[in-house]
């Protein structure tokens, strides 16, 4: 039997979500920085508006500072903080290497925030760290029994962002099989998730309720 208490399971799931969110949003910020420089100056505002976030900037560098440090609740810095907080809460389930990589990324963000320095070059470097976190996770035996929960968070976040950011239910649907396969590991005999491409809101709701559906019922 896999012995993970409900709260720890939730934190593992959210750790997976936040790490994936950090990765997806870092890639997006890098792409938007290029767009501001080369194509449409307001493109980043449009993208962030899709997430319900009002973003103001008067230069590409200011966009970088805002998106990385200053956006309340939605900055990359806050996302990394949230990933680390969940890692602290599940530390007894993680390998030292996994935790120290997440912590190192957090510290890198804190240092950059204190020094008020951010560059595209630096941001690309953080992507390598995020790759290393996922790579370490794939290779580690320590996280083996926890991995379905972290993977569930990762895939749910990716599907969610594909719909919210890119309006691509099709891209999200490509992950359904994977989602069901991971959900099977989290809770054998779970009812498979079926998604249709017709209703964006319902699809988002279904994806985001998978974890809850897998973990709520308690047998006596």
């Amino acid at each position: 039997m896999i012995l993970i208490p409900p709260q720890a399971a939730e934190h593992l799931y959210w750790m997976g979500r936040y790490i994936q969110r950090a990765e997806s949003m870092t890639r997006l910020v890098i792409a938007l920085f290029d767009k501001i420089l080369d194509e449409d100056f307001d493109d980043a505002k449009v993208f962030y508006a899709k997430l319900g976030i009002a973003l103001e900037y008067d230069s590409a560098q200011m966009f970088l500072r805002e998106s990385v440090f200053n956006l309340e609740d939605a900055s990359l810095c806050n996302t990394i903080n949230a990933a680390r907080e969940n890692a602290i809460l599940t530390r007894s389930h993680l390998s030292n290497r996994m935790f120290s990589r997440i912590n190192a990324l957090y510290l890198a963000y804190q240092t950059a925030k204190e020094e008020r320095t951010v560059s595209l070059y630096w941001l690309e470097g953080t992507l390598k760290e995020l790759d290393a976190i996922w790579g370490n996770f794939e290779l580690s035996l320590v996280e083996a029994k926890e991995s379905p929960l972290i993977q569930l968070g990762k895939v749910v976040e990716r599907m969610d962002l594909n719909i919210r950011l890119y309006d691509s239910i099709e891209a999200a649907l490509m992950d359904v099989e994977k989602l069901n396969s991971i959900a099977e590991k989290v809770r054998p005999n779970h009812k498979h998730v079926a998604l249709s491409s017709s209703n964006r809101f319902k699809t988002l709701q279904t994806i985001n309720s998978v974890f809850e559906a897998l973990t709520t019922t308690h047998e006596s």
Binding site: M1, I2, I4, P5, E10, R91, H218, E219, S220
Partner: protein, 316 residues
């Protein structure tokens, strides 16, 4: 000996983590000096939990993320193989304790290393407002279905008023003289001692028996006259609440300060032991030092620092 902590105090994980680091950075010390290994503490903890286990898994019960020792709880759970749980992760059914798991199943718990105070442990039996305890765990304990480390009530020995009697206890129960001497201590509860305290407050350290973590410790020499009078009144009103000790000079330890220079700090040593099938005294310890060069307060909760402690093997 400045005080006794029968409720195992926190802090073992810090020298353990530091030892892991220093072995990597300064391997030559560990190669050349006969320094005793300390890495087996989590294994000894696990053995003790297994020994008292009533049938089920081992759990470390933490008050949660915002407890100052959460790192330690998490570290020990990971290293000892126990499951780290909050109060709400555990449930008592038919006088047995179970760990709830995310997939809906429950696992019987046989031993709990609890890091909660008695007051908070069981809202049914103790503080009813406790949100971090496990309702009815005391009943499961009474029924013999769960082992609690530390057991309920052993905090009485941490009461600084009890410390006064420990040398007498050693003589009574073991018919031996204590090897380590207590600091000369006066118990305000006794009239003779109380008078001595009231007349010599300037030279004594006065301690509130119920406090911990360096709180409630007052150096008489540092009080103003009104403060001293106020404390005198408190001692007269509630003599059971106070003890006083002669000031013991702490060991001075060299520390590298923020300016990059070495200077002396007052330090004490916290040792750790585990009583399972047998008594294990850990050949290491937590050396705590005061951050302020003029202070005797070494508690980490008040900004104190710490060092690993090397215990050398006996040369034969």
């Amino acid at each position: 000996m400045l005080e006794d902590n029968i409720r195992v105090p926190s802090g073992v994980s810090y020298p353990l983590s530091l030892r892991m680091l220093t072995r990597k950075v300064f391997p030559e010390f560990f190669e050349k000096l006969p320094i005793q290994g300390v890495s087996d503490y989590p294994k000894k903890l696990e053995n003790a939990m297994n020994y008292v286990n009533t049938g089920g898994i081992n759990v470390i019960l933490t008050p949660g993320r915002y407890n100052s020792a959460f790192y330690e709880h998490s570290y020990l759970a990971k290293e000892s193989g126990a499951i780290l749980a909050n109060g709400e992760d555990l449930v008592v059914e038919k006088d047995k304790v179970y760990l709830k798991t995310y997939n809906g199943r429950k696992a019987r718990v046989g031993a709990i290393y609890r890091r909660l105070d008695d007051d908070a442990l069981d809202p049914v039996e103790f503080h009813p407002d406790s949100l971090i305890g496990v309702p009815n765990i005391t009943q499961a304990y009474r029924a013999g279905n769960i082992a609690l480390m530390n057991s309920i009530g052993n905090g009485i020995a941490d009461d600084k008023g009890i410390y006064y009697f420990v040398p007498a206890m050693i003589k009574y129960y073991m018919n031996e003289e204590p090897i380590l001497q207590n600091a000369p201590t006066y118990l305000a509860f006794f009239e003779k001692d109380r008078n001595h305290i009231l007349q010599n407050m300037r030279t004594l350290v006065i301690k509130d028996v119920a406090e911990a973590g360096g709180y409630g410790v007052v150096f008489g020499s540092q009080l103003t006259k009104p403060e001293r009078e106020k404390l005198k009144d408190a001692i007269i009103a509630e003599p059971r609440r106070f003890i006083a000790q002669e000031v013991i000079e702490f060991y001075d330890i060299e520390c590298l300060d923020e300016a990059g220079t070495f200077s002396s700090r007052k330090a004490d040593l916290r040792m750790f032991s585990i009583y399972g099938e047998d008594i294990f005294v850990w050949p290491g310890g937590l050396t705590r030092f005061a951050m302020d060069p003029t202070s005797y307060i070494v508690n980490s909760s008040q900004g104190g620092g710490f060092k690993d402690t090397w215990v050398l093997k006996e040369q034969r």
